[in-house]
Amino acid sequence: MIGGPLIVILFFTSLMDNGQPTDMPCGIVDLDNTSTTRAMTRKLDAFEMTKVTAYYNSVDEAREAIQRGDIYAFLYFPKGTTDKILANRQPTISFYYNGVVMLAGNMMYKDLTTVTTLGSAAVGAAKLSALGKTPVEIKAFLQPVSVNLHMIGNPWANYNVYLSTIMIPGILFLFYFLITAYSIGTELKFNRAHEWMRMADNNIFVAIAGKTIPQFMVFFTVFMCFSWYIYGYLGFPHPGGIGKIVLLALLTVLAAQGFGIFAFGLMPSLRMSMSICSLWGVVGFSAAGATYPVFAMDSMIEAIAQLIPLRHYYMIYQICIFNGYPLSDAWPNIAALIIFAALPLLTLWNVKKAMLNYVYIP
C-alpha cells in the first residue's frame, strides 16, 4: 500500500530529474567539409540538448542510423554549400529528424533553428557594422519584429514539473481505486462478510465507514507526502498555495475511494469491480488531457473524459495550484470530484445485498 506509490514517485521524479533531455545524439552528413560547415557543426554540438555523436558519408547511411535508433536527427550539408554562401546563391541545408520520438525531434529542431538563425545573422551583422551601424541599429535591422516569450509557471519548460504532477497522481488514483474495491471484495472472498456486517449491526454505512476511514488516513498521508516531496522538496511551482494543495489532496482521496466503492456496488464481484477500476484508471492517463489536450479530441471522447476523476484532478491542479487562479475558476471540476465521492450512495444497497447474500465464486 505504501511501497508501490513510493516506487512510482521515485521512478518518475528520478527519470526526468534533468527537467529537459540533454545531449541527445545527432548525426552529421557533411559532403562540403569546409571551415564554415564545421563551425556550424561545432556550434550545434555546443548546445545543451544536442550532441554530435557520429559523422556519416551519405544521407542513406544516416537514415539507416535513425532507423537503428543510434541518432534522433542529422544535419545534411550538400557539396558546394560554402561556395554558394560566398557567391550569394542561397544554398540549402537540410535537417532531418525523427518524428516518431517527438520530444527529441522537436527539441533538437529548436537548437538547429537557433544555430542557423544566428549563422545568417552573423553574416548580416558583420556587414552592417562595417557600414558603421550601431549595435542597437543592427539588432533592429536583423529582427524588426521580435517575440518576447513568457512561459507562465514553468519558464524552464521542465518536463519533470509537467509530467510528474499528472502521471504520479494518476497512478495513485489507480492504487486507491483498486485497494478500496479489493478490501471490500476480500470480505466476500474469505467468507468474512457476515461477520463484518454483524459488527456494524447490519448497517452498511457503518460497515463501509469503518473500513474506509482508516484507509482514508493512509491514502491521505501518502498523497500529502507526495505533495510535500514535489512542492516542498523538489520545489515544483505552486503559486496556488498550501490551502489548495491540501484541499485537492482531500478531494482526490475521497473521489478515488468513492469511485472504488461505487464500482464494487455496481458489480459486487471482486474480480469484475477491480477490472472496472483498472480499466477506468488506465484510460485516465490519456483522457485526462494533460499530454494531448481534450479539446482536440473527438467530441464523444471529450464527453467521456469528464467521467474520469483524473481529468478533474488535472484541471483543478493546473488552474488553481500551477497557475494560481481562484478555486471559483475550477468549480465544475471541484463539484465533479465531490460527486465522485458521493457516488457510493447510489450503490451501497447493492453492496449490502451482496455482503448478506452472495457467495464468492472463483
Binding site: L15, R63, V100, M102, F141, V145, N148, F175, L178, F322
Partner: protein
C-alpha cells in the same frame, strides 16, 4: 519404471501430455470470465479506444486572447496572420492583460498575445517592435502551437520589413538578403508530426504484454483456488514433468495471442490510418520472441501471486512506468542507468522499440538486431525461470499430497 520405456515412447508420452494440458488450459480460459476479459475483450476493445482518443493527431485552432494596445495596421496584420495559421485561433480581444489573464483561468484561451502601444511606431522608425506571448505551460502542445505560430509570423514580417531597406535590385536579391541560407526541415517517419502516430505503437505493444500478464496471472490464481490444497499444479498423471506443463500452457496462450497480435499490429493501425511500414517477415521475427518472452515472464510472475486479484494490483500500476522505460516519450538516451537496467528485464521495453522501428520507420530485421537478440535471451531466461518456479510448485504439490496421505493413514490406523 522409466528405464523400461524407450526414449521415444517417453517423448511421445510427453507430447501427448503436453497436448492434454494445452487442451485443458484452452478449456479453462474460455470458461473463466476474468481471463476471458483480459485475453479477448481488452485486447480487442482497448486499442480501439486509445486510437480513437489520439485519432485527431494534431492540435488545431488553439484559442488565444489578443490584447492590442497598438491598434495599428501592423498589429492587425500580425493578428490576422496569427488567426489564419492552422494551429492557432484569435478567440478573444481584450482591453488589458488582466482581462486576458482571467480568460486563461476560465480555460477559454491557452495563451495571450500582447502588442504594446508603440508596436507600429517602432517599426516605422526602424527600431525593434516587440510582441509579448504569454503561454499557459500546463499543456506543452498548446504552448508549442502558440509559440511556433507567433515566431513564424514574426520572422515573416521581419523579412518583409527588411527587404526594402536592404538595397537589393531584384526580387531575388531581396530573397537572398533576407535568407542567405535556406534551411529545409524534414520530419521523417511521421510527416504530420501526429501525436497518435508517435505514441500509439508503444501503447499497442504494451497492451499485448499487460493483458498477457493479467490473463496468465488470473488463470494461475483460479487454478490455485480451485485446487483442494491451494496448489498451482494438480496431482495427475498428465502433470508429470515440468516441460510438458510449461510448454502445454504456453502453447495455449501463444495460440490466442498470435491472433491478438495480428489484430493489434496490423488491423488497428489500418483502421485508424496510422503509419504502418511493416514487412511480414520482420513482424513475425519480432512478435514470436516478444510473445514467448511475455508468456514465460507472465508464468514466472503468476507463481509468485497467491490470490488471483493481487495480480491486478501488481500489473496495472506498472503499465505507465513500463511505457516510459521504452523511451517512447522521454528519450531513451536520457533515461538513468538504473532504470535502463530495470527496463531491460521487461519484454515490452524491447518489444516497443522493435515495433517502432519496423512499423513506424520501416526498418529491417538487421536494424533491430539488438531488440531481436534481447527478446530471445529473455525468452530463454524466462523459460527456465518458469520451469524453476513450476518445479517448486510440483514439489510443493507432492508434499501436500503426501502429507494428506499420511494424515489419512494415521486416521485409519487409529481406528
Amino acid at each position: 519404471m522409466r528405464n523400461e520405456k524407450g526414449l521415444f515412447a517417453q517423448i511421445a508420452q510427453g507430447i501427448s501430455d503436453m497436448c492434454y494440458i494445452w487442451w485443458l488450459e484452452m478449456k479453462n480460459t474460455i470458461k473463466d470470465e476474468g481471463v476471458l476479459i483480459f485475453f479477448i475483450l481488452v485486447p480487442l476493445g482497448y486499442p480501439l479506444l486509445y486510437s480513437w482518443i489520439y485519432n485527431n493527431e494534431v492540435v488545431r485552432d488553439v484559442p488565444v486572447a489578443i490584447v492590442d494596445m497598438s491598434h495599428s495596421q501592423e498589429s492587425r496584420k500580425f493578428i490576422r496572420e496569427f488567426d489564419a495559421s492552422p494551429d492557432t485561433h484569435a478567440a478573444y480581444y481584450c482591453n488589458n492583460l488582466e482581462d486576458a489573464k482571467n480568460l486563461v483561468g476560465k480555460q477559454a484561451v491557452h495563451g495571450v498575445l500582447y502588442f504594446p502601444s508603440d508596436f507600429q511606431k517602432q517599426i516605422a522608425r526602424g527600431g525593434q517592435a516587440k510582441v509579448d506571448v504569454y503561454c499557459d505551460m500546463s499543456l506543452m502542445l498548446t504552448y508549442k502551437a502558440i509559440f511556433q505560430s507567433a515566431q513564424a509570423i514574426a520572422l515573416n514580417m521581419s523579412s518583409e520589413i527588411q527587404k526594402p531597406k536592404s538595397g537589393g535590385f531584384t526580387n531575388r536579391d531581396d530573397e537572398l538578403n533576407t535568407e542567405p541560407i535556406h534551411i529545409e526541415r524534414i520530419q521523417m517517419f511521421n510527416s504530420t508530426g501526429g501525436y497518435g502516430n508517435a505514441l500509439l505503437p508503444g501503447v499497442l505493444i504494451l497492451i499485448l504484454q499487460q493483458t498477457l500478464l493479467l490473463g496468465i496471472g488470473l488463470a494461475a490464481g483460479t487454478a490455485r483456488e480451485n485446487n483442494r490444497y491451494k496448489d498451482l499444479v494438480p496431482i495427475s498423471k498428465h502433470y508429470n514433468g515440468i516441460f510438458r506443463i510449461v510448454l502445454g500452457k504456453s502453447m495455449c496462450y501463444f495460440m490466442i495471442y498470435c491472433v491478438m497480435a495480428a489484430y493489434i499490429t496490423l488491423c488497428v493501425p489500418r483502421f485508424f490510418h496510422f503509419t504502418s511500414l511493416v514487412h511480414a517477415s520482420s513482424l513475425v521475427c519480432l512478435m514470436i520472441p516478444y510473445l514467448l518472452s511475455c508468456i514465460f515472464f507472465g508464468m514466472t510472475i503468476s507463481c509468485v501471486v497467491r490470490y488471483r486479484e493481487n495480480v491486478l494490483l501488481l500489473v496495472v500500476f506498472t503499465s505507465v512506468p513500463f511505457l516510459f522505460m521504452s523511451g517512447i516519450s522521454w528519450p531513451a538516451s536520457n533515461i538513468p542507468a538504473f532504470w535502463k537496467a530495470v527496463g531491460s528485464l521487461i519484454p515490452s521495453t524491447f518489444g516497443i522499440k522493435g515495433f517502432l522501428k519496423i512499423s513506424s520507420m520501416g526498418a529491417t530485421i538487421q536494424d533491430m538486431a539488438e531488440e531481436y537478440k534481447a527478446l530471445w535471451i529473455q525468452t530463454v531466461c524466462y523459460f527456465f525461470t518458469a520451469c524453476m518456479v513450476y518445479r517448486a510448485q510440483i514439489i510443493a504439490a507432492r508434499k501436500h499430497a503426501i502429507e494428506r496421505l499420511e494424515l489419512l493413514k494415521k486416521k485409519f490406523g487409529a481406528e
